[in-house]
């Protein structure tokens, strides 16, 4: 089985959701059926790339794409506050976390470089602009390049 086939995305998504809920003071609903759908789509997409062990940027791109597309998180009606970008932020955070796994075990020496303003634009773009799985993968590949 390909390496990524054993990853369970629900606990990862739940962890991200809890952090967003706390930081933004919003009550969130996590739809398990959508998570299961996303898991299946992620696995199929990665299988179709044809690599047994796709690099972290490719995994990150596919995961981020499907999470922002299928939107497993929603704001509970009882939430006092509202945050429109919850799925997009969760998708990006998980994508970055996947890329961050590349250091130590592999050949990347430096931390992933993050720029808050670019990340803000990326999150917003995830919601309002067209993104394909491949454009998402390319974005993470560029992030991972050593200069």
């Amino acid at each position: 089985m390909a390496e990524y086939g054993n990853i369970k995305w629900q606990p990862i998504l739940k962890d991200v959701a809890e952090k967003i809920s706390t930081t933004y003071s919003v009550e969130l609903i996590l739809d398990e059926a959508i998570v299961l759908e996303a898991e299946q789509r992620i696995k199929e997409s990665l299988d179709n790339l044809g690599f047994d062990r796709p690099n972290v940027a490719k995994v990150a791109g596919q995961v981020a794409f499907w999470l922002r597309k299928l939107k497993p998180l929603s704001i509970a009606p009882s939430s006092k506050n509202y945050f429109r970008l919850v799925n997009e932020l969760a998708a990006l955070r998980i994508g970055l976390a996947i890329c961050n796994c590349y250091k130590d075990d592999c050949s990347k020496d430096k931390e992933v470089q993050l720029h808050s303003r670019i990340l803000r634009d990326w999150v917003t773009s995830f919601r309002y602009h067209s993104h394909s799985p491949h454009s998402s993968m390319t974005s993470f590949e560029l992030l991972m390049c050593d200069n």
């Binding site: 054993n6 990853i7 990862i12 690599f51 955070r93 998980i94 961050n100 808050s116 803000r120």
Partner: protein, 68 residues
């Protein structure tokens, strides 16, 4: 008259997503726990707190009194 065939280059014949060269494509040992640990590490970075501040200052975030 006649047909001229322009042969595809070796690269153009490749199927699927071309591999990048900056890192070997035999990936890391991604696991659920590994990603969770990495997530906590990423979220502890100051740039992520800055990102949260930027997003909370944007029109995408509505506090209770502004929800209508």
């Amino acid at each position: 008259m006649g047909v001229t065939i322009i042969e595809a280059s070796r690269w153009e014949r490749q199927e699927g997503v071309p591999d990048t060269e900056f890192q070997p494509n035999h990936g890391c040992n991604l696991t659920t726990d590994g990603i969770l640990e990495s997530l906590h590490e990423i979220e502890s970075r100051p740039e992520m707190a800055e990102l949260d501040n930027l997003l909370m200052a944007s029109g995408a975030y509505l506090r209770g009194k502004d929800r209508g």
